[in-house]
Amino acid sequence: MKKFITNSLLCFCIFMCIWCVAEYAKEKIYLPNAYSYKYKHVKGNSSIKTLLIGHSHFENSINPYLMGDSIYDFAISGRRWIYWDVKLAEQLLPTMPNLKYVLFPLGYAMPYESPHFQPLTDVIEENIYQYGKNMHVMYDRFPENYWYKSSLVRNDMKIHFWREKNQDKLGYYKLEGQSEECATDQNVDSNIYEGEVAQLCLNEYKEYFIQLAKICNENNIRFIAVTCPCADSYIQNTRPQGIKNLYDLVDSVRTYYPIEYYNYLDDPEFRADSLYYNCSHLNSIGADKFAIRLKNDLGL
């Protein structure tokens, strides 16, 4: 029995050592990913004139190669909160002397998400980790425990050591064909804007949105909000009140700062299912088409 317990304890200690080394390595070894690559590329870059920020609607649904020179897609798929855009804009826009346009995706569902009023999801945890580690935007809601929360416990150890190494030079992440889960799990909840929590999220979103416009204004940058096209299965679930909230958001900014707004949500040109990867993201064909359309409409 003594031998068994001794060996078990020894095994446990070695396991703990391996765990600690792996966690330390994960923090210290530089493993490039979209966050770190994009951040390094953008910071202090004087050649970028147009910057796409925000989430997957821009990272995947616009082909920057078709939008003219000096553009960069700084959007990140999985970005679930406008807070990161505001903090990055504060930090990076003043370092980009030739930046003329900032394009921001104003999605139908996005204003109703905030970790301030909703439970912390895995995606938000990943955001907190990645934006903190690779983009130097800290979020201090859980300062006492978050940074010590183990990757092994969170079950994302393998993600950190298995990154796609090749990053696109304009930050574009192409979605090919149609997603296997097309038209089902990406669908929006039709009543997403209802309830007290949704209202709190919307108000917070409005504040951040105004801040974003303010930063652009202070840096003499044209701030353009764009609602990307979505497939019919998505649009069926949108409601007039939800659409109205988008316009109200833009109006609330306009009382303080200039902003342009383009809504392509149910644009007739983007009705074919073949243009979509899933119901809220264009595929590579759709992204080409949308980039050309956007370039013409914005006069870039």
Partner: protein, 518 residues
């Protein structure tokens, strides 16, 4: 409490230490045994009550009735050596079977029959009393069958009824195998609760290795497969044929990793307590025909049905009444009937769904030709083995071409069976098969991303390779100390720690064991 949960990681060492602290205490042997059994019972009830404490009442009731019926059967059989005594014993045995199956039926099958009945006679809908809202108690099919085996074995005088109620309750509720087996026979497990147990270093280390292997199969292979399989099944109508086929193959590995992983953890955990449970899997995917597959898959359930249903029905050697004109034809009909009965029952045991019944029927159809041609026991030797000059069995590194082909064919037949098993309803099954038998089966399947499929396919390959190489052993990591590099204890301990880390680092999302629902 799940074996792959953090709670269990704390629960197991605590229970282990207290259990053996009692075992090493300077007290009378009988008192020690009773205390150990009582502690196992408490620990098992804590383990089981972690899901829902109300289930405890049911398992306690089942245990008490089976224990009581065992005593009554024993008393009837031994006290009166007459026809009356046997009649009484039979009565108590049947009473216990009816009671246990009644409970099982109520919780598991009642709603199914009501719904089917209402569909058959739509005019009765609303007047039938309707479905009742019941939670299916975890592992009810497993412990019910274990309880049934006790009273039948007492009736058959294979085992003496026990008066030790604590030992009996511990036998029914023994936590490693309570919720998903192996379905133990009273003849094997109960006597172990009635004799003093001593700690064995070799047995305990072997148990730990088996737990490690079970964890690998469950949380790396099965749970990662589940991520893919669940996504494909949720959207099967938009998938290509090749993706559906890949999902079917991955489900084949998922269910094996899940269930055999559970069994390994259960058997390994029991070894830590000095208890030996029966083997539940013996490399089923290396089978050369369906009959061999069924000798290697879920052995405890298969042999249960064989011993308590198939053989009493006459098995493959039924008694032929003298007045039968064509005995060969009669015998064949009885064999066909018996085969269908056990496979359909086996399917139905898994749950109240037509897909399970169809799965059972499908396997019966595959099994029938073999049994009718008398080839069902053709492959009883180890796959990939040969007899050397001295007549002893030796293992080849690789199977022969013929064996490889046989294994592949059997595997594909089994894969098809798992599609039936996995389908939530019959219409879904037909749509899935329709989608799979499409020209798109020749396209490249959806693979999620490299970070997903490379580790998963590597894990499956590692599992198959290690199990192939150790196919003569009870589990894949048994006797690894015999290898030259691993005969040093420290090296092995480092390897275990590293393996555990890798298992945890590459684990899939936390998924409940598939067989918990049965």
């Amino acid at each position: 409490m799940l074996f792959n949960s953090i709670e269990f990681a704390f629960f197991l060492p605590i229970v282990f230490l207290i259990y053996w602290a009692i075992g090493y205490a300077h007290i009378n042997g009988n008192t020690k045994l009773r205390l150990q059994n009582a502690f196992v019972l408490i620990a098992s009830y804590v383990f089981y009550g972690w899901w829902d404490w109300r289930f405890l009442l049911l398992i306690a009731f089942t245990s008490f009735c089976s224990w009581g019926s065992g005593l009554l059967i024993g008393k009837s059989v031994s006290s009166v050596q007459s026809v009356d005594g046997h009649k009484k014993a039979k009565f108590w045995m049947i009473a216990n079977i009816v009671l246990n199956l009644g409970i099982l039926f109520t919780f598991k099958y009642y709603n199914f029959f009501i719904e089917e009945f209402c569909q058959l006679f739509p005019s009765l809908e609303g007047r039938s009393g309707g479905v009742i809202s019941l939670i299916l108690p975890v592992g009810i099919s497993f412990y019910t069958f274990q309880a049934l085996s006790y009273s039948i074995d007492v009736y058959r005088q294979k085992i003496e009824p026990t008066k030790d109620i604590i030992a009996f309750f511990a036998f029914i509720a023994f936590f490693p195998q309570l919720v998903a087996g192996p379905i133990e026979r009273a003849t094997n497990l109960l006597p172990q609760f009635l004799q003093n147990r001593k700690f064995s270093y070799d047995q305990a280390t072997d148990g730990m290795r088996q737990i490690l292997w079970g964890l690998f199969k469950k949380i790396v292979v099965a749970d990662n497969c589940a991520t893919y399989v669940d996504q494909v099944w949720a959207t099967y109508d938009t998938q290509t044929g090749s993706t559906l086929l890949l999902a079917a193959i991955l489900f084949t590995f998922q269910i094996y990793g899940d269930f055999s992983g559970y069994s390994d953890i259960a058997i390994g955990t029991a070894k830590l307590f000095g208890i030996k449970l029966m083997r539940n899997f013996n490399n089923p995917y290396f089978s050369r025909d369906i009959a061999e597959f069924w000798r290697r898959w879920h052995i405890s359930l298969t042999t249960w049905f064989r011993d308590y249903v198939y053989i009493p029905l006459g098995g493959s050697r039924p008694e032929i009444p003298a007045n039968i004109q064509n005995p060969d034809r009669y015998k064949k009909l009885i064999i066909i009937r018996n085969t269908f009965v056990i496979f359909l029952l086996s399917g139905f045991w898994h749950g109240a769904n037509w897909t399970f019944i169809a799965w059972g029927a499908y396997h019966a159809l595959l099994f029938l030709p073999l049994i009718l041609l008398g080839k069902n026991r053709k492959y009883t030797n180890q796959v990939g083995s040969y007899l050397d000059a001295s007549g002893s069995e030796r293992l080849r590194l690789l199977p022969t071409w013929r064996e490889s082909l046989q294994i592949l064919c059997t595997f594909l037949l089994v894969v098809f069976g798992w599609i039936i098993f996995r389908a939530p309803h019959m219409p879904t099954l037909f749509h899935y098969l329709e989608g799979m038998c499409d020209a798109s089966i020749f396209t490249i399947p959806w693979l999620m991303n490299k970070g997903f499929y490379l580790p998963l396919f590597s894990a499956i390959l590692i599992m198959l390779s290690i199990e192939w190489l150790s196919r003569n052993n009870e589990h894949a990591l048994q006797n690894i100390e015999c290898h030259k590099i691993l005969n040093n204890t420290f090296v092995r301990v480092v390897l275990y720690a590293l393996s555990l880390f890798l298992i945890l680092a590459f684990r899939g999302g936390t998924v409940e064991f598939i067989y918990f629902q049965f």
